[in-house]
Symmetry: C2
Subunit: 368 residues, 2 copies
């Protein structure tokens, strides 16, 4: 039927109304109603329905894909704000326009291909969307996926940007040495849980901070962290970190910013390194800013280095090979938190900022 | 006479009181009365008088030196506090005890030597003191000085730690590229004025911030900065920096911390580098903390790197040779602000925090 649409389009034949119905799908997708300031809430989002013609322009290289798994990531909130510095900074952080479809990383299946490099029913990974279907212009930012025997969800999470962020951030930015003391905040999140596991495998001492006791147990019992604590039960984070790191912190992998960054800097050793990966505590509350003591930064020669995974794509092949081996050998545990259905995307996203997820948050939009 | 003292000491001969007078000097030196919190003031300091026997222990390698020029540096305030993180961090930042003599970098002349490597009347440079004379145990942290035809004050300032701080911080920490946009705060200070001059010579565009209009004129007219501004006349530093750097800042050499660091981070370009050299605005006011926007740090991949000159001593020979050439060729202007007499040390030091000095603050304790 898709080929027919294409032929009809190409030759500009008249399409009788009765045929048109069969050449469309009903596409349900998520939008924001307005720009979001502060924490996101259900009423900020709308589930829209729209007919999507399963046809592509001749010679366009466009694809129509069906979303299977989509990654739910905190950074998207910065794209939903009316203004953010992130907008100027990166393509990945391009603004999201209210009412329009939202793009996001995930795994999809090709429904219609006008691109000679892709065939119908092939799996792809890359920037799909927060919806059931998407017309992908020129096949941009998608590549063919070989699942390598792993579940498709893994290709949204651990083999995706979250995994590469953890890998590149820990090894390239933190430049760890065996035996060093590593602190990870947001340690049960998509990136943090892997940083901790990488650090342990590499021979570091690792402590993670999380927001509830169930997560503490997962880190210690399932993922092999040396220790973990629930920051919500700790009134004085500087004292807490002094307790968990009596010999100081060498590497801090920061996913949260705010008070935790200050406390970590106060407890760092000489030549300590901070990988500034994210600042979720500041995303939804601009007044909550970290004020690290600059005297500590100077005297202890601390490096605070912001980074984005997009600068480390060159590591991807190494990364996939390494992680694949570790997963097969059981040396790394995948930690995924999967919801089902396109309609669950807003609550999955909102939950990130409430600490609901344990591990990589993924929505399964369709099984296949 | 010194040799006689030595012999008397060695053989434990009785020294008649009448001789003793000639074997002592009256040493005037500065102490702090108590630990200092906040900005230093005259009443925090005391000029003490004490007889200093011009004799040294046999076989001790000790020296007695006469201070000629002493460097007056903001970091000393951190050593005068009752507690500071700097204490744990470096030898150079070891605490200063109330009532005791204060050590500081400078040029001195040897008065008595018990060290075969040093001769009487030789010039030395290194850690002398805030006083007229000093007994230097083992000759520690002193080395012979070849003035190379330059004034002795230059060896306290531009050829001293201030110069090497500027050189190593700019070239090693900032890793500048020709044509980059460089912002320097505290730009008429001992380090800042040189950073700006190095950056200009290297081919960067350089703007400096200072605390009065006379300093603005010095930077622009004498030192060749592309531009300069008086931060005290700028109510909105973010807007000010946007005006001076319409294309953004690539390198920020931070001597002040606080609001200026925040404003610089907000105006930085992708992959911007901050050399955190000092935070004078925070030294005397612990509540004045910089809160750089971590979203900027992450998305713009900004690096904030604390450093101390003591980690870059390996560059010293290169540095001296380069700066010597530049001074001889008139490519670098020395900027010195010299007071006279040991009694002027407290006001010279206090003045650092009031922005009194233009250039490297030095006290000439004795001409020779």
């Amino acid at each position: 039927m898709y080929q027919l649409t294409y032929l009809l389009y190409k030759h500009q034949w008249h399409i009788p109304p009765s045929m048109k119905v069969t050449m469309e799908v009903n596409n349900r997708y998520i939008t924001i109603k307005t720009h979001i300031e502060g924490a996101p809430k259900e009423s900020d989002f709308e589930l829209k329905n729209a007919a999507l013609a399963l046809s592509i322009e001749a010679g366009s290289n466009d694809l129509i894909v069906k979303t299977l798994y989509v990654s739910i990531d905190p950074y998207q909130i910065n794209r939903m704000k009316s203004y953010s510095s992130s907008r100027k900074a990166t393509v990945a952080a391009a603004p999201i326009t209210p009412g329009e479809a939202i793009d996001g990383y995930g795994v999809a299946k090709i429904v219609v291909s006008g691109n000679p490099e892709f065939q119908k029913d092939e799996l792809v990974v890359g920037f799909v969307g927060w919806g059931e279907y998407k017309l992908v212009k020129g096949g941009d930012r998608l590549r063919k996926l070989d699942p390598m025997g792993f579940p498709l969800s893994h290709h949204t999470g651990i083999f995706g940007y979250g995994g590469l962020t953890a890998y590149s951030g820990f090894f390239e930015i933190c430049k760890p040495r065996k035996g060093e003391k590593v602190f990870v905040s947001g340690a049960s999140g998509s990136v943090g849980n892997l940083v901790g596991q990488f650090a342990k495998l590499f021979g570091c001492y690792v402590v993670g901070s999380v927001g509830n006791n169930k997560k503490v147990a997962v880190l210690k019992e399932k993922l092999g962290f040396d220790d973990a604590f629930n920051y919500k039960e700790e009134p004085d984070l500087k004292a807490t970190l002094r307790r968990y790191f009596p010999d100081g912190i060498d590497v801090y992998f920061d996913n949260v910013g705010g008070d935790m960054l200050e406390a970590a800097v106060a407890n760092m050793n000489l030549f300590g390194r901070v990988a500034a990966c994210g600042a979720i505590s500041e995303y939804t509350n601009a007044s909550k800013r970290a004020s690290p003591n600059m005297l500590d930064v100077v005297y202890k020669r601390i490096k605070i280095q912001g980074f984005l995974v997009s600068d480390h794509i060159n590591l991807y092949a190494d990364f996939v090979s390494t992680i694949g081996d570790h997963l097969r050998n059981g040396k790394i545990q995948p930690l995924e938190d999967i919801s089902n259905g396109v309609e669950s995307i807003p609550s999955a996203f909102i939950g990130l900022f409430q600490g609901d997820n344990i591990g990589k948050k993924i929505v399964c939009v369709a099984e296949d």
